[in-house]
Structures are given as structure tokens and as C-alpha cells.
């Protein structure tokens, strides 16, 4: 019987060339590459626009006997020296809050309203003798600055109480204490806070990339199978090549076209990341923002590449089979719906897993072929995975691909030929039982 190659290769080559040369592909790739570049440069842009500038906070001291060094204590509370930063001798953080002593509260309120000040803090004393604070400014419940000001005020009030209780130099109480974490896995020891943030960002990016590839290019596969069927080109193809060859060729060709688009976008984003360091130094001074690409290592790249490809090939085969079951292109979306749901479930589960990468269910799902492409790279970046686990999961994924492809080929060979019949599950099942 005829083997998979070289016919699958011929089919893949045509599929790839037609896809890559199409105007829609070129335009879409260009737009997405620009978006990638833009996203990579966004942190620099935010800095230029002043999102990173210190918050200006007006302070009115209305209390008759304010604690000594009020502004100094408040500033210390708002701009704490980072414990982590001290521990690894990292970059000193620039001040996030700038305190402006205010003598005219009325004018200061106007300044807040006009945006010259970000907030106005009035420090008085209640009848019990404790310090009392009034804050005027942005009060949305999620405002980070409000929470910070409140915490610093609390600190100031405690310090004031301690002073009144006779404690000398109470500000020393708030000096950060030494706190060292020894992780269970000795390899994870190199991770500090900044690296954790970067790892989290990286894992997020990987999950999103995988999801988008599966959805977008899976739909390409389903759409082009349905098109060949509805235009009846399929009748000629199926005479010259076997259904298995057509299915494999279609998946490989579309996968290659998708990867081409992906590499173009990632290339543009990478250029942006490389440029953002020098750019931000040139424009705003100081170091660049923490980049998600900091955590990219060779093993991460290899594992992500493998699982990305594997996941794509796995899902694409299902999409091809589903695409072969419709007679009209308009029905494609309806038919691929259930599969899209599987992809979306994996996607959201992966997002939940980002915050609990060590939990048992994440462990389990990282071995399930349809979810491993999300979960295995995620675990590798955020948690600890033994090489054996990666290999085992990869083997399961390969086994899944083999099984799904042979099932899909049956549905496909039945589906592409059922012209004019309602693409019911029963018709396809009946036809799929017979070996072709």
C-alpha cells in the first residue's frame, strides 16, 4: 500500500506555498509583527509617557505637635528599601512617591483636582491623642497608591504611639529583618523575586502563544479542508492521493505556514526587547523593565518548541477531521465548536495553574496529551520538573498524536467523500468503520 511520503510532502509544500503567498497571510503577518514589536516596546513607551514617574503627594500637617521627622518617616514607609534588592545587591529602586509639604490646603486640593498632585494627605490628631489622617485623591479600591499611603500612615501612627510611650528612635523598628528562603529544590535557589516575576510573565506568554497557535491554525486547517471539499477539488485529490497522505500533508503544510507567521512575530518582538534596553536608557535613563525573556533558557526553548509543535499537530488533526465533515464552509465554525471548547478549557486551566504550579492537578494535566502543551512548559518555567517527567509526557503526547491521527484519518476519509449527505455523526461513523 502507498506510504505517507512523498505525497504528504507534495501536499504540504503546495499548502505552505499557497498559504504563505496569499495576500491575507502577508498582511496579517505584517500587522501581527508590528503588534509584537509594539508590545515589546510598550514598557519604554509607558516610561516616556510618565507612567513610571513618582507620585506627588501633598502633605498638610495640621496637628499641633507632629511627631519629629514626620515627612522622613512617611517617606521611609512609602519608599521602603527592598529587602530582596539589598540581599542580592540589586539595583537601587528609584523613589515611587515624592512628598510635598503643603501650607495652603485649599490650593493643594485644587492642585489634586487639576492633576498637579496625585493626592493630599492631612495629618491631625484625634481626641484620643492618636494621629488621624485624611486622604483626598484617587480612591478606587484597587488603587495601589492608596493602599501604600494607608500602610505608611499606619506605620507613622504606630511610631508616634511608641514615641509617646517613651520608646527612643522608633523608626529603627521598621528596618526590614533578614529573611532567607531555602527552596526544596536546590536548582531553584537562583530565583529571586524579580526572576519569579519574569518566570511568571514568561509562563503566561508561553500559554498564550500555544493557545493562539492551536486556535488560529487549527481553524485554518478545518477551513481549508472544508473549502477543498465544498469546491470539489477534493474529488481529484482523493483519486491521486490517499486520505492519510492528504491529512498529514495538510497538517504539516499549515503547521509550517503557522510557524512562519509565528517566527516573524516573535522575531519582531525579540527585536523590540533587544531595542528596549538601549532605548529606555537613551530616552528616560535607568535600566529597562524586567523582561519576560529573561527566563528563556535552552531547555525551556527546546521543551516549549517540542510541546508547541506536538500540541499543534495533535489539535490540527482533529480540526482536519472536523473540517472534513461539513459540506459547506459556513458550517465549519459550528463543527469545530466542541474542539475549540477543549482548547479554551486548557487555556483557562493553565491560567489558574500559573499561581499554583506545584499542585497535584497541574501535575496530572501535564501528562494528558491535549493539555500537556500548555502545562509542561508552564511547569518547567514556574516549578520543578525532572527530565524523566518531560520525556514521559512527551512520549504520551506522541502516542496521543499517533492515535488521534489514525482516528482522524478515518473520519477524514469518510468525511471528505460524503457529498450531499448530512454530516451527521452516524453517517461519518458508518463510513469510518470501513478501512479505506
Amino acid at each position: 500500500m502507498s506510504g505517507l511520503f512523498p505525497n504528504a510532502w507534495y501536499i504540504a509544500r503546495r499548502e505552505y506555498l499557497v498559504r504563505v503567498r496569499s495576500r491575507a497571510f502577508v498582511i496579517m503577518t505584517a500587522i501581527l509583527a508590528l503588534v509584537g514589536l509594539g508590545l515589546a516596546l510598550a514598557p519604554v513607551g509607558f516610561r516616556m509617557l510618565g507612567a513610571d514617574r513618582p507620585q506627588r503627594l501633598g502633605v498638610v500637617i495640621s496637628a499641633a505637635d507632629p511627631p519629629p521627622r514626620t515627612l522622613g518617616l512617611l517617606g521611609g514607609g512609602l519608599n521602603p528599601p527592598s529587602a530582596a534588592g539589598q540581599a542580592d545587591g540589586g539595583t537601587p529602586r528609584s523613589a515611587n512617591y515624592e512628598l510635598v509639604p503643603v501650607s495652603d490646603p485649599i490650593a493643594a486640593r485644587r492642585d489634586v483636582q487639576d492633576g498637579r498632585l496625585n493626592g493630599l494627605l492631612t495629618i491631625g490628631r484625634s481626641s484620643s491623642g492618636d494621629l488621624a489622617f485624611d486622604y483626598f485623591g484617587d480612591s478606587s479600591p484597587t488603587s495601589r497608591s492608596l493602599a501604600a499611603v494607608q500602610a505608611a500612615s499606619q506605620q507613622l501612627a504606630i511610631s508616634d504611639r511608641l514615641t509617646r510611650a517613651g520608646v527612643r528612635d522608633p523608626s529603627a523598628i521598621f528596618t526590614p529583618v533578614g529573611f532567607r528562603v531555602e527552596p526544596l529544590d536546590p536548582n531553584a535557589g537562583r530565583r529571586d523575586t524579580a526572576a519569579s516575576v519574569a518566570a511568571y510573565l514568561l509562563a503566561t506568554v508561553l500559554v498564550v502563544l500555544t493557545f493562539m497557535a492551536i486556535m488560529t491554525y487549527g481553524n485554518w486547517v478545518a477551513g481549508s479542508v472544508a473549502e477543498e471539499k465544498s469546491s470539489r477539488v477534493m474529488e481529484l485529490l482523493i483519486t491521486a492521493a490517499s486520505p492519510r497522505q492528504l491529512l498529514a500533508g495538510k497538517v504539516i503544510g499549515t503547521c509550517a505556514a503557522g510557524l512562519t507567521q509565528y517566527l516573524a512575530i516573535l522575531g519582531a518582538a525579540l527585536v523590540g526587547v533587544i531595542l528596549s534596553g538601549p532605548l529606555s536608557r537613551a530616552i528616560v535613563g535607568g535600566s529597562g523593565a524586567s523582561s519576560p525573556f529573561a527566563g528563556v533558557t535552552i531547555p525551556v526553548l527546546i521543551v516549549f518548541g517540542l510541546f508547541f509543535l506536538g500540541g499543534f499537530v495533535l489539535y490540527a488533526a482533529v480540526y482536519a477531521a472536523l473540517g472534513s465533515m461539513v459540506s459547506r464552509q459556513e458550517d465549519v465554525q459550528q463543527m469545530v465548536g466542541p474542539m475549540t471548547l477543549v482548547g479554551v478549557v486548557g487555556y483557562f486551566a493553565a491560567f489558574t495553574a500559573l499561581s499554583t504550579p506545584d499542585s497535584g492537578w497541574v501535575h496530572v494535566l501535564s501528562f494528558v496529551p491535549f493539555f500537556a502543551p500548555y502545562f509542561m512548559p508552564l511547569r518547567l518555567v514556574l516549578s520543578t520538573v525532572t527530565p524523566l517527567e518531560v520525556v514521559f509526557s512527551a512520549l504520551l503526547l506522541v502516542a496521543g498524536i499517533v492515535i488521534v491521527h489514525s482516528l482522524a484519518a478515518r473520519i477524514y476519509s469518510a468525511g471528505v467523500l460524503l457529498y450531499g449527505q448530512r454530516p451527521g455523526i452516524r453517517a461519518v461513523w458508518r463510513a469510518a468503520r470501513v478501512r479505506r
Binding site: 500500500m1 502507498s2 512523498p6 505525497n7 507534495y10 501536499i11 503546495r14 499557497v18 469546491s231 470539489r232 477539488v233 474529488e235 481529484l236 485529490l237 482523493i238 483519486t239 491521486a240 492521493a241 490517499s242 486520505p243 497522505q245 467523500l417 457529498y419 450531499g420 449527505q421 458508518r430 463510513a431 470501513v434 478501512r435 479505506r436
Partner: protein, 337 residues
């Protein structure tokens, strides 16, 4: 010129095709009577309750040109698609080149040249690109392509243009070429002359005759009888999924009726002695009748100086069909089961 037909009883004691294949090495089969290129046995296809094909039984011998005739919607394409494994028979069985259509269709398609009815091609490819692509997939060199393109007058310039810009006839020519370019042992062609102008139809039939000379088998469908009679060895006529006739073309031609009209100067001679002339109506000097069978005795009988006008209408397929419809009921072999 071809093996005797119409013997629908399988040779007594002969093993069924499946057993023969298992028991005999391929070359020992050559000694036994050659396997038919296509064989269907009570082939039935129903779409839900709607019958498209009803107990169709026919053989196509190797090396013959077989015409498959019927009006639109008679079940021609359904039969062809079943033969290529695109449809599953509801009942009965069929084999092509000794291979079962239900289980070995991939192999059948690999060894057969196929022209689908209403051919569709990738619009973005050039004519040559489409032929190259299909040749790659067919896995055999397109040895006949140049000759076919030449005979169908498809120039290199045209082949360099995109299929998108092709006329119906050009697409059809590409379809014919791709079905035959790799010189398959069997060609199954669904309405091959559709969209070809009369000159190209002639060229196409000349190609078929050459194929037969080289021992290839051709099975093609058509709804135009006059086309088929020029090239076919045998024809099957189906209507509403039923086989109405399976005959040598000579027999079919002999059965065919033509309308004739004659006008005489003076009295009308006696026409009753002419064989095959029936339904005679006389209206003054005008005679209308139908003529079945040989033309020569009729011409000889009417040849006289007083014959003023003679019209012989070409026999249309519809009339041939009407004939068979009328016969259908008293043909016990074809009564619906």
C-alpha cells in the same frame, strides 16, 4: 471484437473474485478468462429512503470502451462514485480491477484515471501547475500529457495561465488530460465531453479509440446517444437507478427509431413492405412514420422520381429511452426488487 456479454450468470463452479485472489498468484490468473475491469452485482445505493441505484448488475470487459448512458439524475454519477469508493453501496457489491470498492478503494483510485463530473481545480495554480501537482500525487510520470495536450489543442501559452482565468472547456481539457496523463489501465470518466466543442469532442473520441488500440479500458458516462455510438463497444442505459439495457452498440442502433417524413408527387406508394417502418400516417401527399433498424432497405424502397422531399430526424436519446421505458415492464430481469 470483445468478449461475449450479457452472460450475467457467473461460470458455474468458478471461485468468487475474493477467493481467486487469495488462492492464485497474480500471473496464473491470466490463464483463466480475464477478469472484468469493472463488475457490479446487484449494486444498490439509497440516500435515506430515496433510491439512487437499484440492483445494478453489469460487467465491463478489459480493453473495451463502455458507454454509460442515461438522462440527468439517472444515477450515472452515483454509480461512478461508488466504483471509486466515494460512496458506500447500501447493498450489493462491486469490484474494479478485481478490487473490492468497499475495502480497497485507495488501491482502485491509485490504478484508475478519473475525471469527475463538473471538474474543480485549484484556481491559484496554472494549468500546467495543476497537471504537475496531480502527476506528482499520482506517482507515475505523465507520459501521455504532451500528446494529449497537443490533440486537445491546449497550447503551452494556455497552460501557463492560471486556472482561475480558464473557460469551462479549458478546465474540462485539463480534467481529461489529468485523468489520462499517467496512462492508467482503466479510465473512468464522468461526462467527459461536457463543455467541449464538437471539434474537440471528435479529438477526444479519437483519443479513446487509440486507447482501446493499446488495450486500455474506458468507462464513461454521457447523456448524448449520438456521441456514444461512434466509439463505444457496448452501452448500458440506466434510468431512475434501473438498468434499462446493456447491449452492443450495433444492437442498440438497430433498435433505435427515427422519425421520417416524406412527400410525394402524385400518389403515395405502398410502404407496408418496408421492414421496420411503423406508425404510418398519411395526410394528403405527406407521410410520417417511424423507422426502426437498417436504413438501406428503406432507402431502396422509397427511391423513385416522384419522391419530392425526405426528412430523417436524427434519433434522439430521449426516443431511445422512451423505447426502453416501454419495454421496461416486460423485461423480467430488470423488475425492481
Amino acid at each position: 471484437m470483445t468478449a461475449p456479454h450479457q452472460d450475467s450468470h457467473p461460470d458455474a463452479g468458478a471461485p468468487s473474485p475474493g477467493q481467486a485472489e487469495a488462492a492464485l498468484p497474480p500471473d496464473s490468473r491470466a490463464a483463466s478468462p480475464p477478469e472484468p475491469a469493472i463488475r457490479t452485482e446487484r449494486l444498490t445505493k439509497r440516500y435515506g429512503r430515496v433510491p439512487a441505484l437499484n440492483a445494478l448488475t453489469l460487467d465491463v470487459q478489459q480493453g473495451e470502451i463502455f458507454g454509460f448512458l442515461g438522462p440527468n439524475g439517472a444515477g450515472k454519477s452515483t454509480t461512478i462514485r461508488t466504483l471509486l469508493g466515494f460512496l458506500h453501496p447500501t447493498d450489493g457489491r462491486a469490484s474494479v480491477l478485481g478490487l473490492d470498492v468497499a475495502t480497497q478503494s485507495v488501491e482502485i483510485r491509485r490504478r484508475t484515471g478519473y475525471l469527475p463530473g463538473g471538474i474543480a481545480l485549484y484556481d491559484s495554480l496554472t494549468g500546467m501547475g495543476a497537471l504537475d501537482y496531480l502527476a506528482e500525487l499520482q506517482g507515475r510520470p505523465p507520459v501521455r500529457r504532451a500528446e494529449l495536450a497537443d490533440r486537445l489543442q491546449l497550447s503551452a501559452t494556455v497552460l501557463r495561465r492560471r486556472v482561475r482565468d480558464y473557460s469551462r472547456g479549458m478546465r474540462q481539457k485539463i480534467g481529461v488530460i489529468q485523468a489520462l496523463q499517467h496512462d492508467p489501465e482503466l479510465a473512468i470518466l464522468d461526462e467527459p465531453t461536457e463543455g467541449l466543442d464538437p471539434l474537440m469532442q471528435q479529438a477526444f473520441y479519437a483519443i479513446l479509440l487509440d486507447l482501446r488500440r493499446e488495450g486500455r479500458t474506458v468507462f464513461f458516462s454521457s447523456h448524448i446517444l449520438s456521441e456514444v455510438e461512434r466509439v463505444c463497444d457496448r452501452v448500458a442505459i440506466i434510468r431512475a437507478g434501473q438498468l434499462m439495457a446493456l447491449q452492443h452498440i450495433d444492437e442498440l442502433l438497430a433498435r433505435r427509431k427515427r422519425k421520417v417524413a416524406l412527400r410525394w408527387r402524385g400518389g403515395t406508394p405502398d410502404l407496408s413492405a418496408i421492414p421496420g417502418l411503423a406508425d404510418v400516417t398519411v395526410h394528403r401527399d405527406q407521410v410520417r412514420a417511424t423507422l426502426q433498424g437498417a436504413m438501406a432497405p428503406f432507402i431502396r424502397a422509397i427511391a423513385s422520381p416522384s419522391l419530392e422531399d425526405l426528412t430523417i430526424e436524427p434519433a434522439s436519446l430521449e426516443e431511445a429511452f422512451l423505447e426502453f421505458y416501454a419495454d421496461g415492464d416486460d423485461n423480467p430481469a430488470e423488475v425492481a426488487g
